[in-house]
Structure formats: C-alpha cells, structure tokens
C-alpha cells in the first residue's frame, strides 16, 4: 500500500542527492519564485521544475490527491484576486486594456489576465519542487542533514519519529473509529456535520489516551538506548555531500542570483509587456 506524499526509495540522481542539497534547492527555488513576477524568469523556472519532477520519476498516485487539492486552492485564489481587486493588473502595469468591452469595475482587462497568469505560474513552479523534495528525501537522512547544517538533532529527530509513528496512529484511529461506530456513533455522511463534529470527541479522546501510553513507552525506549547522552550524535543514514551535490548547489545559487538580477534590474519585480 502506498501512502500519499511519503518518501519512496528509487534510484535516480535526485534521490541520490543529499537532503541538505535538496533543502537548499527547495528553499532558494521557492524564494526566487515568490519574489519574482518576471514572466520570463517564471516560465524558465516552470520548465525546469517540470523537467526535474519528471527526472525524479515521481508517479501521479504519490501526489495526485494533494495536487488536486492545491489546484482547487489555486482556482479559489485566482477568483478571489479577481473579485476583490479586478484592477490589480491595471495598477501594476499602468495601462488598462479591456478584453470584452468596458463593462465597469469587473471588466476583464488584458493586464489583469496577465497578472493572474503570473500568479498561476508561480504556484506551478513551486508545487513540483515541493513534491520532489518530499517524495525523494529519506526522512532520516533529512534529519541528519538538518543536524549537519547546525540545527539541534532534537528537531530533526522529532520529525523522523513523527513520520515513524504516523502510520501506527492512523491504524489506531481507524480501529477506534470502527469500534465507536459499532456503538452507534455515526461518522458517515448520514449524520449531520454538527453531529459528526460532536462525535469526533468519541474517537479523539481514546486516541489521545492511547497515544499518551505510546509516548511513555517510546520515550523510555529512547532513553534506555542512550538518546540525549551527548550534545551531538552520528547518523546511520547520513550521506556526505558529493560532486553532484556541489554542482546542484552552485547551479541553484547562480540561477537564483541571475533570476533575481533579471527580475529587479529595472527597479520593478514585474515584467511589463504592455
């Protein structure tokens, strides 16, 4: 059974990169794409994103559900921009060219359409990078990476251990839900939303209590095996930076610098074709 948005081991050059490299790439990539409204830059980034995504051999089933969700938000976002500031494009680009004749405040202008296109491209540039990062980075290796860049191992390890126990808690949730449903607590769509919210407590309380038992066991087990003994620790799944990592890091940094220079050289982060 494969779970949505979880690490899957595959042998591609992206999987072989260190978690640090991918983290740096992901951060710089997102920042660049957030800052820039330069359509030329964004289009290049979008193409790169899609290429990288393809090379990571990520399959649709791993990310499909989440992608659909994000698309839904994207649509809502785009509509909201139009509803609340239909003249945003005109303000930015300093001109107003209605597409279908002048129909008052909500007249759709070329500028508005162009602006919203830019927003959409920004989303689409970042999404593949996020997916790629999550599904190709081994969580333990990532925890090791975080530690390596100077973050205390407690933080990285908390993350790894959360990922370790999420499936267990999910199973337990399912079991508890079933047992409570059998007692008559309706959780299916037959019950009203209000009832369903109310009856969630019948599942959450037992889940919390049994999770607390679990936490007790885990923390004892960790302590008995020396967790927290030293200020540092080593990592079984740590991966040293290799040639490819340095190449990717340098390329990423160069790319971001160039992209931001192109974006900001004329004093505005918007590219104005009008």
């Amino acid at each position: 059974m494969s779970r949505v948005l979880s690490y899957e081991e595959k042998d591609t050059w992206i999987h072989r990169l260190s978690g640090v490299t991918k983290l740096v790439f992901f951060l710089l990539w997102s920042i660049t794409s957030m800052l820039s409204y330069d359509t030329r830059v964004l289009v290049v980034m979008l193409i790169c994103s899609l290429l990288i995504f393809r090379m990571s051999r990520t399959e649709w089933r791993q990310v499909g559900t989440v992608f659909k969700f994000i698309m839904l938000f994207l649509v809502i976002n785009l509509l909201a921009i139009y509803v609340f500031s239909p003249d945003q494009g005109a303000k930015i680009y300093g001109s107003s060219t209605p597409l279908f004749g002048d129909t008052g405040r909500y007249a759709l202008t070329k500028e508005q359409l162009f602006y919203e296109c830019n927003v959409m491209i920004k989303y689409l540039t970042v999404i593949p990078a996020v997916f790629m990062f999550i599904v190709t980075t081994n969580p333990s290796e990532f925890a090791a990476s975080l530690n390596k860049v100077g973050i205390h191992y407690n933080i990285g390890y908390s993350l790894a251990i959360a990922l370790r126990y999420i499936p267990d808690v999910q199973d337990e949730y399912k079991k508890i839900k079933h047992a409570q449903e059998a007692r008559g607590i309706e959780m299916s769509s037959k019950a009203s939303l209000k009832d369903r919210i109310k009856s969630t407590s019948a599942i959450l309380f037992p889940l919390i209590f049994s999770s607390m038992d679990r936490i007790d066991i885990i923390s004892n087990a960790m302590e008995l095996r020396g967790y927290g003994k030293h200020k540092e620790r080593t990592w079984y799944s740590e991966r040293a930076l290799q040639r490819n990592d340095y190449i990717v890091l340098i390329v990423t940094i160069l790319f971001s610098v160039v992209a931001l220079v192109i974006t900001f050289h004329d004093g505005s982060r918007f590219y104005n074709p009008f």
């Binding site: 302590e223 020396g226 620790r233």
Partner: protein, 573 residues
C-alpha cells in the same frame, strides 16, 4: 562457594515511588552472578517491573522516588552511573515490540544506540551488519516496522540492545505480544544468545510455563513487593509458592496435583518432556478412571452463520478464503491462529467494518450484509483489546450510557438499563466514579458493560486476556463465562492465549493463511501436532503428560482435567 563477584546485588533495598504512600519494593536482598539466567515471576503489582526498572535505571532517573538500602551493578553504584551509564551495562528489551521500534527502518533502529554514542558511520554500518546476521534479520535491514511480523520486530529489538556488548540482557515480558509458537522461538533464541555470548540474562514474565521452555538457573518469585522465593526451577515447581502467590504453574503440574501426586524435585519437573513420571503414573491413571466428562448442552439454534466468505485487499491475494462456520446460540468460541492469519479481518467483516468480496452472513437466520455498522452494532457487540481505545467519557455512567443515548433512548430508560448492566458487571458501587479511578481490569469491565447495555446477541472480544496476570485473567474470563451462562449471550473471542482457549471455550476455530484448518473442541485442537504447527499454536503440555503416562484418550484426559480445574478455581474465587 562461588569465586566470582555478583554482577547485580541488592542489600536491604527498599523503593517508594514519589507519588505513592507505600513502598513498591521492600527489603530486597538479591545476588545475581555473571552468566546466570534468571526468571523473575510475580503477579501484576508484585514489584517485578519496578525491580527491572531499578536495574536498567528507569528508576530513579525517569520514575522518581526514594531509595533506601544499597545496590550495585557490576560493582558500581547505579545512581552514580546514571541511566546512560547503565545502558552500557544493561540492555533492555521491552514488552511492546511496536513502541520500542524507534527507527524508520530496521538498520536505523539497530544503529540507534551507536548513533547516540557518536560512533562513526563506517564502523556503525559494519556493526549493524554483524549483529543483524547474528539475529537473522540481515535480509530485513531496509524494511519499515510495519512490514515485519511480531517475532521479527522482537529480534530487531534484541539486535538493537546487543549491538552494544552489554553484560546484562533484561527482557520485560518478552512473550506478551507473541503467538505461542513465536514465543517458543523467542525463548529458544534467548537461550542460544546466552550460549554464544557471555551475558547474564534476566527474564521477567508471568507466563511461567512458556518461559520455562528452555532451562533457567534460578527463578525469583515476587509478591507484594518482596522476594518470596529464590530457588531452582525444580525446587520451586515442587512446592506451593506459586499457587499461594497467584502465579499460574505449568498445566501438567496442576494436573499431577489434581490427581493427588506430590511433586518431588528429583523427578525434574522443569520440563514435561524430560520429567520422570514413573512415581506419578498410577495416580494419574486412577484419577482419570475416577472422573467422568460432563458435556455442556449446546442449543441447536444457530446464532451466527458464515457462509463461503472471501476477502482480499488486492485481488489475487486472498486474506480470507472459503470461510464457513456456524456458531450456536449460547456458545463460547475462540478464533485462534498466528498473527496475520486473518483473525482480526474476520471480526471486522462480521462487525461490518469491511465488506466481503463474496459470501453471506446470517444472524439468527437473517442476512445482515445490508445492515450498517451501527445497525449491526445493536446485535453484535465488539470489545477492543485495550480499554483505553474505547473509553471516551470521563464518567463511568456516561460511558456505559453512550450507546443508548446516541440511539435516542429516553433518559429514564437509559438510567434503568445502565444501572442494571452495572449491577451485572459488578460495577454498580462505582457508578458515579470517574473512569480514571479504575484499574485496568475494571476498565475492561466498563467497556464490556458499555456493549452489554445494548443487549447484543453476540459479543466479540479481541484478545480479552492479553497482558493480564493469572488473577485478572481468571476474573475477566469467569465474568464472561457468567454472562454467557446467565444471559445466554454468545461469545466469540479472538485470542492467542492457549489457556483461555483450552479452559473456557467450547470450540476453537483455527485459522491459518486465511483458511479454516480446524473447527473442533479445544482439547482436540491442542493435542493435534499438525494443526498446532500450521497455526503457530503450541501443543498443550497436558498432551505430553497424557502420552508419557500412557493414556490413549488424550483429548478426553485434557478435557477432564480442564473441567475439574475450573471447578476448583471457581470454588476458590
């Protein structure tokens, strides 16, 4: 006499948890020598776990309290060593194989100790590989915990503590979550480890008979915070200490005592296979001739009929296949088989949590396949293994009333029915108490009460006796027997507790690899080598007793003994 210094010593040691008024351990005097294999037994609350915690450092470093007297581990004061210093000497394998699996993969879990000790990666990888080979988990190094069986998880846990070359291995109820055959393998593995490495082994377990599958040097019996016996297995098994302190003795010994035999240490009662039975044979024969088997009358009316059930998650990989059986009204039936044989799936299908691919289910002749989970819940009650997984209200009354209230029953009727159920379950005096004030066994009763209140025809219980000591085990099952007898409620239990199956159920349905391989009285199932092997059960030691005494009607003998033993126990309670 002994030349070597003890590795563990306790002198007039007393310990009191900070939150408690009375000490949990009193005047412990104990010496354990390097290379010994010690079994520590005792009922719940006897202090055996606390003693273990003192040895591995959870007491007093995680669980605070007051210590008086002295103790030493490997010649050092544990309080100075600290929990980390102790972890270099004592390796602990905990009861919960799931909870202690910390890493995302087997290799990382094994390496955990080394990571915390800043061992460089190349050395770490080599050591993980070596210990994994020793424990026979080297092919699983990249697996995630959920891909492993209970036995494999336990081997990983053992590898994870043995990687550090500890002097003492401490096993905290290693058999609790395992099916009988896997438990047997675990005991054999512990034995093998000790033969290959110079370690001292401490096993805490209340399943004495299973733990004694391989030789131990000494058994320490704890009761109410004190050591009440510290002797060889043969001496201990010949006396009455176990019975007096509520610890279940091996079944074959109970049977011999039932037949009026006085057990002698020189007959080596530690293992039934090698025990000298010649002084007892005649008595056993006489006893068997003097008793007669009482047959329980079973109604002809069927309560639940399962017909040709198939289920699979992925087509082509069946989880259950051609499941076909009938349960009569008022029967008490156990569903047994190894972990992953499909027992839980079967109960999930009966309760409607999942839908079968094929087949039908009839409840008192009526097809229930169209009923929702909630509708089935009124007729088929399901009780989970851990009461903490079910209890969702802070007050006992509200918890039991929950099922009625959501079904819109009037408050007057709710009150009446809840009180009545609480009386049946012996919880009436606690009706206004908060659930948190109850013991584990009482909580279990509350969950059973909260199902019984809906007047189900059938009660399905998932591992009702897991983790219970002999006293609580008897309490819970006698209670079930009582509601089964008095109210004619049909009871179905999913279990890998061989005692429960043998002593309390009328019939056992044995699953192996998704198929029913036996559907017979438990005494017959547990005396059949082939079935036991296929389903990862363990043949009862009564079988060996009967065979070694030359009795031919083995399953009748087993059944007779069980019947008499139960009656005796009932009188006692």
């Amino acid at each position: 006499m002994r030349q070597v210094e003890p590795i563990i010593t306790f002198k007039d040691f007393t310990f009191k948890y900070r939150a408690q008024v009375e000490p949990t351990l009193y005047d412990i005097n104990l010496s354990i020598y390097p290379g010994e294999k010690i079994l520590i037994v005792g009922p719940s609350g006897s202090g055996k776990s606390t003693l273990a915690h003192c040895i591995n450092g959870l007491v007093p470093f995680s669980y605070k309290g007051d210590i008086s007297g002295s103790y030493e581990i490997k010649g050092q004061n544990p309080q100075k060593l600290g929990i980390f210093g102790l972890s270099k000497i004592v390796g602990t394998v905990l009861q919960d194989t799931d909870g202690q699996f910390i890493g995302l993969t087997v290799a990382e879990d094994i390496a955990f100790v080394l990571e915390n000790d800043k061992v460089p990666q190349p050395e770490m990888k080599q050591r993980v590989q070596d210990v994994a080979e020793l424990m026979d988990v080297d092919t699983l190094l990249k697996c995630a915990p959920r891909e492993l069986s209970g036995g494999q998880k336990q081997r990983v846990s053992m590898a994870g503590v043995m990687i550090d070359d500890v002097d003492i291995l401490l096993f905290d109820e290693p058999l609790a979550n395992l099916d009988p055959a896997t438990g047997k393998k675990t005991i054999a593995l512990i034995d093998k480890i000790q033969k290959e490495r110079p370690v001292t082994i401490l096993i805490i377990e209340h399943r004495l008979e299973d733990a004694l599958y391989k030789d131990v040097d000494r058994i320490i019996v704890m009761s109410e915070g004190r050591i009440v016996a510290d002797t060889t297995p043969d001496e201990l098994l010949s006396g009455n200490v176990l019975e007096e302190h509520g610890i279940r003795e091996p079944l074959y010994l109970s049977a011999l005592k039932q037949a009026g035999c006085h057990i002698l240490p020189e007959t080596k009662p530690q293992h039934i296979e090698s025990m000298d039975l010649s002084p007892y044979k005649d008595k056993v024969f006489d006893w068997f001739r003097s008793v007669s088997l009482k047959k329980k009358e079973i109604s002809e009316e069927s309560a639940l009929e399962i017909k040709d059930l198939d289920f699979s998650y992925v087509s082509g990989k069946p989880i259950l296949q051609d499941i076909h059986f009938t349960i009569k009204k008022g029967e008490m039936v156990s569903i047994v088989g190894k972990n992953g044989a499909g027992k839980s799936t079967l109960s999930n299908l009966i309760c409607g949590f999942m839908q079968p691919d094929r087949g039908s289910m009839l409840l008192q002749g009526q097809d229930i396949s169209t009923l929702s989970i909630k509708e089935r819940g009124e007729k088929i009650g399901f009780v989970m293994q851990n009461p903490n997984q079910m209890i969702s209200k802070p007050m006992i009354f509200d918890e039991v009333a929950l099922g009625l209230r959501v079904r819109g029953v009037s408050e007057d009727e709710v009150k009446e029915r809840v009180y009545e159920t609480l009386k049946i379950c012996g919880l009436y005096p606690f009706r206004n108490w908060p659930v948190s004030a109850l013991s584990f066994g009482q909580k279990k009763r509350v969950t059973i009460a909260s199902i019984l209140v809906m007047n189900p025809d059938i009660l399905i219980l998932d591992e009702p006796t897991a983790g219970q000591d002999y006293k609580h085990y008897t309490e819970i099952v006698e209670f079930l027997k009582q509601i089964n007898g008095q109210f004619g409620i049909t009871i179905l239990m999913i279990t890998h507790d061989m005692h429960l199956m043998l002593e309390y159920t009328d019939r056992a349905i044995v699953l192996a690899d998704g198929k029913i391989i036996a559907d017979d009285i438990p005494a017959k199932v547990l005396t059949n080598e082939e079935i036991a092997q296929k389903a990862y059960l363990k043949k009862t030691s009564l079988y060996d007793l009967a065979v070694n005494c030359g009795i031919e009607a083995v399953s009748d003998f087993v059944e007779c003994f069980i019947q008499y033993d139960r009656e005796k126990r009932k009188e006692r309670n």
